[in-house]
């Protein structure tokens, strides 16, 4: 067979084909053989690589799927947490509002009590101030009267000291000293 092929090859011009579409027989054979060899080689050597690559890809896809599932699970758990937190926020809001109401009520009560105390103290102070002012006014008036009296008395006394009174005062002194005081 090999010899036939060789003879064929040698007998004919390799650049001229017998059919416009089909190649020469030898080419078909060689091509077929080469194709088979390549196919076998591909199957033998490329198959495992492809198989391995596919397996790796499958594994990668599986990993991605697992990751996505995990992410989904995480997201769902976070969503649950957020929903829970939302619930907590609502409860906290309610609690804070209630606490604010309580504090406002306490402040109001405290403020009213303090204002009442301050009003009482102010009233007491006003009463005391009035009493003090009244006393001060009385004292000042008394001092004024005393001062005027002190100023006026010598003049009044001097005017009333007649000669007779002067003599009486002198006689009274002599009598008093003579009597041993």
């Amino acid at each position: 067979m090999i010899s036939q092929i060789v003879s064929l090859l040698a007998a004919e011009d390799p650049t001229v084909t017998h059919h416009w579409l089909l190649p020469e027989m030898a080419e078909i054979i060689y091509g077929g053989l080469a194709s088979v060899i390549i196919f076998v080689g591909l199957v033998k050597f490329g198959g495992p690589v492809i198989k391995k690559g596919m397996a790796a890809r499958t594994e990668k896809i599986q990993k991605e799927l697992d990751g996505a599932a995990s992410a989904r699970s995480t997201s769902e758990s976070e969503a649950v947490g957020i929903r829970a937190a939302l619930g907590d926020v609502a409860a906290e809001r309610t609690r804070l509002l209630a606490e604010a109401d309580t504090q406002a009520a306490a402040l109001l009560l405290d403020g009213r009590a303090r204002i009442a105390t301050e009003i009482t103290a102010l009233e007491a102070k006003a009463v005391a101030d009035l009493a003090a002012a009244r006393g001060r006014g009385t004292d000042e008036l008394r001092a004024e009267i005393a001062m005027l009296a002190a100023l006026a008395t010598p003049a009044v006394v001097q005017a009333t000291l007649s000669d007779q009174t002067q003599q009486e005062l002198i006689e009274a002194f002599i009598t008093s000293v003579g009597a041993g005081r």
Binding site: A146, A149, A150, T153, P154, V157, Q158, L161, D163, T165, Q166, L169, I170, E171, A172, F173, I174, T175, S176, V177, G178, G180, R181
Partner: protein
């Protein structure tokens, strides 16, 4: 002026007055002169003014006392004024009076009154003060309008005050 110098002047004046006789009259005139000097600002400033010559100040004394006081009194005051001791005239005279009283074994009783006392009142007052203090007194009356009424007597350290002025002051402090 120191007390020793005042004493010295008082002793000298006393001896001159005693030598001249009528020490009682001179003593009384000097006492009145001292009180006038104390109470009269113009007289005091004139007699103590060092810018006025001594003979002119002595002339003022002679003009003031001439005919109203004895010659001895006038000369004694002029002597003090002429020696430039006018400022100490009251102290010298008071010391002289104390000395004179001491010679007579008397205690000076200075009595201040708003009006003059009659002789009878002075006698009775002397007797009363002698009785009250247990000392024979040499009464010296000062006319002092500031007492207003009544009398205040000072015998040594003892003061008997029954003046209207003091009563008014007590009243004022009570008010």
């Amino acid at each position: 002026m120191s007390n020793a110098r005042i004493e010295a002047y008082a002793r000298a004046l006393f001896e001159i007055a005693q030598a001249e006789g009528d020490i009682d009259a001179v003593e009384n005139e000097l006492f009145r002169m001292a009180r006038a000097f104390e109470s009269n600002e113009q007289l005091r400033s004139t007699l103590t003014d060092a810018t006025i010559p001594a003979d002119r100040r002595q002339g003022v004394v002679e003009q003031l006392l001439g005919g109203k006081a004895s010659n001895t009194t006038t000369q004694l005051v002029a002597l003090v004024v002429g020696s430039g001791r006018s400022k100490d005239l009251p102290a010298i005279i008071d010391t002289l009076i104390k000395r004179a009283s001491s010679e007579k074994k008397l205690e000076v009783a200075e009595v201040r009154s708003a009006i003059a006392l009659t002789d009878d009142q002075q006698k009775r007052l002397s007797a009363a003060l002698t009785k009250a203090t247990g000392k024979q007194v040499n009464l010296k009356v000062v006319i002092d309008p500031t007492v207003m009424g009544g009398l205040v007597a000072t015998v040594g350290d003892e003061v008997i005050d029954d003046t209207v002025r003091t009563r008014l002051e007590q009243l004022k402090s009570r008010i």
